[in-house]
């Protein structure tokens, strides 16, 4: 079944392309949401990534798993987007995907995916990118430095600051939840 979708994509059949898009939409969005500050931006990066997938689908080895290959393209597209816009002023208004924090889910283990993404999106672009690459994607600092064109020291510094910010936000959530719990 999946093989037929890939073959259809190689022939640029729209139906097959849509099938592949729907199948990996959620997975792709879970990556791009972490690199952007709004859902629109995340969709834009995801669509750019899918364009690259469709343009290069004939180079994909069907015997190997698709997810890692797709993930690599999405992450690279997200990094390119970050590098293009890293010198631009950060948009003032941030559109966050989550609703307000539900007071009934305030203990740390009950924090939802949406809230986690919201926390990550609130980081500055530099901290957010290094955090994603190191913590989620598993790159080492020297690899991150090479990818982003920064020094290893800057990579470590940004990661440290990102973790501190997230720690602070989580502690605030814990404090609020304890107050509600009383």
């Amino acid at each position: 079944m999946f093989k037929e979708i890939i073959i259809g994509c190689c022939k640029r059949q729209r139906k097959s392309q849509k099938e592949l898009y729907k199948k990996y939409y959620a997975y792709g969005m879970s990556i791009t949401l972490r690199y952007t500050t709004s859902r629109e931006q995340a969709v834009s990066i995801l669509n750019d990534a899918f364009m690259k997938v469709f343009d290069n689908i004939s180079g994909y080895d069907i015997e190997r798993p698709f997810k890692p290959w797709f993930r690599k393209i999405v992450v690279n597209t997200a990094i390119n987007h970050y590098q293009k816009n890293s010198k631009l002023p950060t948009p003032v208004s941030l559109e966050l995907i989550g609703d307000e924090i539900d007071p009934s889910e305030t203990i740390i283990s009950g924090i939802s995916y949406r809230e986690i993404i919201k926390l990550i999106q609130e980081l500055s672009p530099a901290y957010r990118t290094v955090f994603n690459l190191y913590v989620i994607e598993g790159f080492k600092h020297h690899e991150i430095a090479e990818i982003l064109g920064i020094s290893v020291g800057t990579s470590k510094s940004n990661l440290s600051k990102a973790k501190r910010n997230l720690q602070d936000k989580l502690e605030k959530i814990l404090t609020v939840s304890h107050q509600y719990a009383r």
Binding site: K22, Y113, I120
Partner: protein, 440 residues
Amino acid sequence: MPDNHKYDSLEQFFRKKTGDYEIQYKEEDWLKMEKKLQASAQQTFQRKKLYWIAAASLLILSLFSYAVMDQQGSFNGLTQLFNNETVPGAIDEFPESSTFPGQDQPVPAEEPDDDIVELDPGQAERLTPIPSDDIPDAGAGLANVPDPGSDDAISVEAAAEDIAVYPGMEHLKVEYINIRNHERFDFSLACAGCSLDRLTSIHLGESGLLKKSDEREGTDLLAASYQHDVSGAVSSPPAENVKAFGRLSLGLIAGPDLSTTGSISNFTNPGYNLGFTVEYNINQNLSISTGIVQSEVRYQALGDEYTPSDYYFNQGIHPAETNAVCSILDIPVSVSYRFLHFENSRLYARAGLSSYIMLNEEYRFRYDIESPGQTEIWNDRTGTRHWMSNASLSLGYEVDLLPNWSLRAEPYLKIPVNEIGWGNVKLYSVGSLLSLNYNL
């Protein structure tokens, strides 16, 4: 994951949580994706179409050139034929008695001949009559053409053989000799190295005045003389294949244009060129020209290839792609050199500089990141002038249609010297110009 990560609880927490994603599919996101795919397919189709147009143009030009060259070759073949053979029914059919056909026929009285043309003194001076001593023995030369009805048919025939082997006949000016036959029997004597198309050549020689050949009246050239240009005493005319040129040429030009920024690639829809040129011929090979050409230029600029001087874009978000349609007045100044001449055509190379006056500029922007208030379209009659902003190189082929009219096909390449337009782009252009020229 690297081992040193696993002991950091915060990292583990985030890693676990981000893996538990629950994201709903949205059809509107696919619709955006589909638009991108359609735009990409359209671009690919346009690019392929342009390649086919370029290939077809090249093929047509090649066939055209081949046809003209072939025609030239056929003409030369005919010349060769006349040089090597006699008219059927001529020499070979001469009776062995060597009496001249029709020699017994009464010769009509000479009628006053208005067709005899005398050369003017200037022309006569240039001609060097060959002293009879210089004419080889066997080659009595055409200066001693027998009168019709004479018994000198043999000498004419002998003269023909000698002329065929006579050295240095390359500059023989006499085209051919016909001996009038009252029964309209023609004997043509071709000469090596002659150009039979020069039927209007007129020479003055020892034999006296000549008669122009007029086929319509059935009048044959009675006699002719030749000039032997071994010494070079007679100034040769220009190479026979070079057309006599006028000083001034006016041209009407039109053709498609493909433009782009950054490099020679990523063309979009073709624009056009339409205008007038004036050319001054310094000599038969070199000329300078200028003109006014209105061009519609269409191109696509990506990212930072498009940089307006004002910080124009909302929140500093630069468009990912800019599609431009500009109306430009092009004032070219160029020098051309004709390096290969054929009978009725020539090849030339041209180099020059173009100055652009921007009549109208229209730009449409596409963004990767959409946000409210973004500029999607910009349009203005800017009128900005960009002097000597583009250099042009071209190779052309010109073919003569009529004595004063010619047609040219000239593919060109333009490369930027300076940036132009509101977006300060470096514009590359390729295209082909067809022009109809009137030579004064």
